[in-house]
Symmetry: C2
């Protein structure tokens, strides 16, 4: 990896053009860094704040190669980039985070094996390739459980609950019989996530742990500080640091965890990218997760992850966006709209952050 | 003026493509508003974060008309837009702030007459059209004084100090004998500015007054809170409100004042736009001056102008930019670089904001 940082005026490439790429572009602009967005839809939200843009399929190798040839570093706003696209891009530019972060995060089985292999607690799980294997796993693991496809899951997609072994057939059918992981559901007090950023030289910084509330499998609310004891904060950071380190990760990484009644933490999953549960950092920190991701991949010194305020971030999902006028008039509230034209149910259209003095 | 706000997804036009337009674009993106930038140089910093861009002269009426025809509202990042451009734009789109704000701010004599006409204190001044008038004015006004061209002044440009009546000829020569204003220098304790924002419906909000330090006629440092008594804060806001109201202004307006030893305030000048002394609001407020300008011209509810932290903003002028790595590594500091390629002496290349807990 080059030792010198990318100077102001450089252009970074981003695969993906959604709200994460949009907020990355804005953060890059603060550093005098331009962005070139590659997205598969003409109405990509990030195009509105980018220097350059290409509309293309992520498996269009020629187009991806041409894009990578015009930038110094390529990064991604989502973890499910085709491995081939990353490989093609890597021939022309540096790709960060490194391929390993994507390879592990793209496959729920690899992810669980990886985390468990580090001695970090995960929910009991079993690999499942056939209906017979699912039936066998259901006799070993405690119910209720979740059957999750190994690939292409996010926002609760690609996972089906199983409450009774008799549901094996219907559940297997529901996930179209693709390779999967069966996982016991963890009883937890609260969902917590930690956003960490790791630099090119291995330095690592953490934002304060966040408490998350999901609805229908989609993040609804993130709250900071999380109502967890200081020992859990220390442990959450230790875990996040161990995962980032073992991956050789560069950039932001988000680790989702469950806090159990006894205060212990169990890893749910991680995302090798900026994360919805870190959006509060735009308003409550001097340097946001987005800016720190850009700093990391550009080899800049990492920015201050300290927090000047308490924050509650609430997603605007689907028709929630219709309330934009009322939200914009609320004191102590900042509104972030992603510029998406169609407010489909379940679609993240924006978020609001409410700040209060640091407790 | 239309009663309904511009909905998310709308595009606003900005005349000017420097750092102010760049930060306006970024702020607009938070609201789901796109920007179309019209600038007279191909390397305009704002182009990197805009949806659409045109390179054209500000007096190219056809190009300005075409630009205005594609947006809902036109605004400006600088006050010295040719009146003709504003007139042409106004035929195709709403132009905000309104023409009166520009007309008054573009002419130092009109500005002083306007402010003085509101009963607000200004430094003693005299209109000067000829060398004889300058000589006559020098006998009436207290020295030292400043001879300022009526038009096209900013960052200390277009003004020359006069310490002795014998300098009349050389000073008149220095400003090329254009229409001017002679103004007695005010002895002051500190320079203060107030950033106000006025909405389309006349509602008005203020950021906390700022203490400014200039070097070589260019803003060097802005500090908030300003070390002024509460009564001066009340008075500074009253003055800012009276000026905005009398102009029928819509958008952000910045009023620069001198605080004299006795605590009284004297108006120096105002700028009918976002202002360098308000850059700290990006980091220390939930809603920045840039976002509030966009909200105002789009008819949105004004955003919270409250401040969660104390702040010191330091401009990076010319070669200061070379220290970007060290600055980026400083805790408690956020770095803002404008993406300008050439670091000429006196050129504003970026700024840093240092936050501390609210005092």
């Amino acid at each position: 990896m080059p030792k010198t940082p990318l100077p102001p005026g450089s252009t970074i490439g981003i695969l993906g053009g959604g709200q994460l790429a949009r907020m990355l572009s804005v953060a890059a602009s603060r550093l005098g860094i331009k962005t070139y967005i590659y997205a598969d839809e003409a109405a990509a939200p990030a195009f509105a704040v980018a220097s350059d843009r290409t509309v293309g399929a992520y498996d269009d190798e020629q187009a991806v190669a041409a894009f990578a040839g015009k930038v110094a570093v390529v990064t991604c706003e989502f973890e499910n980039v085709p491995a081939k696209a990353l490989e093609v891009a890597a021939r022309a530019a540096q790709v960060l985070p490194p391929a390993k972060s994507f390879a592990v995060a793209q496959d729920r089985l690899a992810e669980k094996d990886f985390v468990a292999g580090l001695g970090i607690p995960v929910a009991p799980y079993a690999a499942v390739e056939t209906l017979d294997e699912l039936r066998a796993a259901l006799t070993r693991l405690k119910l209720p459980a979740l059957l999750k496809t190994r690939r292409l899951g996010y926002d609760g997609k690609g996972q089906v609950p199983i409450r009774d072994a008799g549901e094996a057939g219907s559940t297997w059918h529901a996930i179209h019989g693709v390779p999967a992981v069966l996982e016991s559901m963890v009883r937890f007090e609260r969902e917590v996530s930690v956003i960490a950023v790791r630099g090119r030289g291995g330095e690592i910084r953490f934002y304060d742990p966040v408490e998350n509330v999901h609805q229908d499998g989609i993040l609804a609310i993130s709250r900071v500080p999380a109502a967890i004891p200081p020992s859990s904060t220390v442990e959450a950071r230790r875990i996040a640091g161990a995962i980032a380190e073992a991956l050789g990760h560069v950039g932001v990484i988000a680790i989702e965890m469950f806090e159990r009644e006894d205060g212990s933490l169990v890893i749910n999953e991680f995302a090798p990218r900026v994360h919805n549960s870190g959006h509060w950092t735009i308003d409550a920190c001097l340097v946001s997760q987005f800016e720190n991701h850009v700093r990391a991949i550009c080899g800049w010194p990492l920015g201050d992850t300290g927090r000047h305020s308490d924050a509650v971030m609430t997603n605007l999902i689907g028709a929630d966006i219709d309330k934009w006028r009322e939200l914009a008039a609320e004191p102590g509230t900042s509104v972030h709209l992603y510029g998406k034209t169609e407010a489909r149910p379940g679609r993240k259209m924006g978020h609001v952050t409410r700040l209060s003095p640091k407790s």
